[in-house]
């Protein structure tokens, strides 16, 4: 009995050490740092209690980036999942050039986000960018998608969807290929049309994949900010800034590490809650074989 116990710990320890060093200790340190003021060369840090959290509640930019992030999540997650599913269903059929089509859909995923952002930067450029060159043919005026507060976030969202859909498609494609054809044939013999087959057979069988993909999509909606650096820098007036981007700015541009730690604690709490919610609520509806 005693020996089993040691054995178990020994087996667990490599993963445990890494989790501790790279996840749990930093998380606790972050929480601890958020309770102090930022140390400056000429003024050491001091105990601040909840001061940083009070600043946070009074900080309009924090609320702005949080609401941006919620819109960003709502705008990108369902759309990219729906597009991924549609693409997967299509390239799962027997059609000419299927391999090429799959590759084409997957290409955005392979590209680094910074490269993607630069490509889209060219699409969006007012006057001589791709979009304006096309709309100009039809006599439409110049657009400035990234330079207007109403549209900047949409511009950033479109890039994210373009980038993510192909990645999620791969998971759906793999899942589709594990569905036994006999189930679909049986449904067809019963007289079910394609829509009924999708709704009653295919989609329920894809639920575990949908859960996995949606958790990934939620995490990404808080984690992917690389393109913002290139596209808008969070502007105009924070219209396209997201929580993690703001954390980066506070930490590495303003060098206000204590306040950045406070923001990080909030981000951690949000992500923790979302993951728990998804696993406990969503999981019940998922059909595993």
């Amino acid at each position: 009995m005693q020996r089993n116990w040691i054995h178990a710990w020994l087996l667990l320890s490599p993963a445990f050490v890494f989790l501790l060093a790279f996840t749990h200790i930093p998380a606790v340190t972050t929480l601890w740092n958020s309770l102090f003021t930022t140390p400056r060369g000429r003024r050491p840090s001091r105990w601040a209690g909840l001061e940083n959290y009070e600043t946070l509640i009074a900080d309009p930019i924090f609320w702005k980036v949080l609401s941006n992030n919620i819109w960003f999540a709502l705008g990108t997650i369902p759309t990219s999942i729906a597009i991924a599913l549609a693409m997967a269903l299509w390239v799962n059929e027997k059609l000419a050039g299927r391999g090429f089509l799959r590759m084409a859909y997957f290409t955005p995923t392979v590209l680094p986000m910074i490269a993607v952002a630069n490509i889209w930067m060219f699409f969006y450029t007012p006057g001589f960018g791709l979009i304006d060159q096309i709309t100009g043919r039809f006599g439409l005026p110049q657009s400035n998608i990234l330079g207007q507060p109403d549209t900047a976030l949409w511009g950033v969202m479109a890039v994210t969807i373009w980038k993510e859909a192909g990645f999620f498609m791969i998971f759906y494609l793999a899942a589709l290929q594990t569905i036994p054809p006999s189930l679909i044939e049986a449904a067809r013999i019963e007289g079910a049309g394609p829509w009924t087959i999708f709704r009653r057979v295919t989609f329920p069988l894809l639920m575990p994949t949908t859960l996995f993909v949606s958790i990934n999509a939620v995490v990404n909606s808080f984690r992917m900010v690389d393109h913002i650096f290139i596209l808008t820098g969070g502007g105009p007036d924070n219209a396209s800034s997201l929580l993690l981007f703001y954390i980066y700015e506070v930490a590495f541009r303003f060098w206000d590490t204590a306040y950045a730690a406070t923001l990080t604690v909030i981000l951690l709490a949000i992500l923790g809650l979302l993951a728990i919610g998804q696993f406990f609520l969503f999981d019940r509806k998922v059909h595993y074989r």
């Binding site: 400056r40 060369g41 000429r42 450029t125 007012p126 006057g127 001589f128 100009g136 006599g139 439409l140 005026p141 110049q142 400035n144 990234l146 330079g147 207007q148 507060p149 808008t232 820098g233 502007g235 105009p236 007036d237 924070n238 700015e249 590495f252 541009r253 303003f254 060098w255 206000d256």
Partner: protein, 420 residues
């Protein structure tokens, strides 16, 4: 035998070590393209060849932002570089973190003291705190107005606009529309993405406002003269002579080459780029005046970091002194388009020849007489961000100029209170 050899080698190494003792790390940013990095390498190698006792490791550290982030991180880890080129506006931040030496502490001889006074005063405004010199101007710039001479001729104009009124009037004449009423060529382009405050300072200065006073602890964002400048900027888009919304900084030279705009405001650091790529005859002029001529300076200074031994810091000091001498500074200025920082450099033969061959290079120098310090405060990045957000809010029409600036002033006051 072998042990004797070893002892001999060790002895040699000991004897040699005082001469080879000084290893310096030098971080530099590049903001304008490849040639700059090569020129830095060349200059550094030239110095090493002439000074066998010193070895300098010139490390390319990315953009200005990356460089200051790297230097701060390294300093916090106890590994600060001995010297680095960093934005002149980050001086207060570096000073506040207690990371940099005053050059005066090392300038012992009369020659050294004279050297500290050899630069243009407008560059020194961003390089001194309480009468002490913390930065040596090196890759410094100032914004100028570039104009398309062909488009000007087509509109019946000859000279660059000299005043705000003229600029707006010319811009109106230069704006072209197609049959559908869509603009094909804008009159003027003042980019506003990223760091709009810098070019905007060209307007506030010419309107007679000073953005920062009291040693970087007080901003004057809500000064009526600043509000007026912002209203002028907003009116350019509103009255249809400049593209609406936020205008991308990086795409500006390209838009100029493509004929999308007849005039543009951008850094002199783009001079070599425009000279190489503009498919038409172009002119360079000072920014237009209103109450006076005026423009900000910009770009990077040399800083001397704390943390090295006395010997290392002295060697770094000597290197900075050497690289800012006329011959070296001229080489650097010609390769990049940055403004040579001392009158003596402009008097050197290299610079004289260059200016004779390419007169637009002189515009930036002549503008220095009217130039003021770039916006720089304690917690500079945060304060400029507040200001930038306000400018964006006004440019995109979310807030009126007066409201946006009053809010920005209140926020900046809250940040800077601790430093007064």
């Amino acid at each position: 035998m072998i042990s004797k050899l070893k002892a001999a080698v060790a002895g040699l190494a000991l004897m040699a070590s005082p001469a080879l003792a000084v290893d310096l790390e030098f971080y530099f940013p590049v903001a304008v393209g490849g040639a700059a990095a090569n020129t830095i390498e060349e200059l550094t190698n030239e110095y090493i060849a002439a000074n066998p006792g010193v070895n300098i490791d010139a490390i390319y550290a990315g953009s200005y932002q990356d460089t200051v982030a790297k230097a701060l991180t390294a300093a916090r880890g106890g590994n600060a570089p001995q010297l680095s080129v960093i934005l002149s506006v980050d001086m207060y931040t570096l000073f506040d973190e207690d990371l940099i030496h005053a050059f005066d502490d090392f300038a012992t001889t009369d020659e050294d003291k004279a050297w500290l006074k050899s630069f243009y005063p407008s560059f020194m405004e961003n390089s001194m705190i309480d009468g002490k010199t913390y930065g040596i101007p090196f890759q410094r710039s100032t914004p100028v107005l570039y104009y398309n001479k062909e488009a000007f001729a087509e509109a019946g104009l000859t000279d660059a606009p000299a005043t705000w009124e003229e600029m707006k009037d010319y811009a109106g004449k230069l704006t072209k529309k197609d049959d559908a009423g869509n603009v094909t060529q804008w009159g003027v382009r003042i980019p506003s993405s990223g760091f709009p405050y810098w070019l905007f300072q060209g307007l506030t200065t010419s309107n007679g406002a000073t953005l920062v006073t009291d040693n970087g602890t007080k901003t004057n964002f809500d000064d009526p003269k600043v509000v007026e400048a912002l209203e002028y900027l907003v009116s350019l888009s509103k009255d249809g002579v400049m593209a609406p919304g936020i205008i991308e900084w990086g795409a500006t030279p390209k838009a100029f080459f493509e004929g999308q705009t007849a005039m543009m405001w951008t850094s002199t650091g783009n001079l070599t780029n425009v000279r190489k790529n503009a498919p038409f005859d172009f002119g360079v002029a000072m920014l237009p005046a209103n109450k006076r001529r005026g423009a900000p300076t910009g770009g990077g200074n040399f800083y001397l970091f704390k943390g090295g031994s006395d010997e290392e810091t002295k060697a770094a000091f000597d290197f900075i002194k050497w690289i800012s001498q006329p011959t070296q500074a001229a080489k650097w200025s010609i390769a990049t388009g940055y403004v040579a920082p001392s009158p003596a450099t402009w008097d050197s033969k290299e610079m004289q020849d260059y200016a004779a061959d390419f007169p637009p290079a002189l515009v930036a120098r002549d503008q220095l007489e009217h130039a003021v310090a770039e916006l720089s405060t304690y917690e500079n990045q945060r304060v400029t961000r507040i200001f930038n957000d306000a400018l964006h809010a006004a440019i995109t029409g979310d807030k009126s100029a007066a409201d946006a600036l009053a809010e920005a002033q209140a926020k900046a006051d809250a940040v800077l209170k601790a430093y007064r």
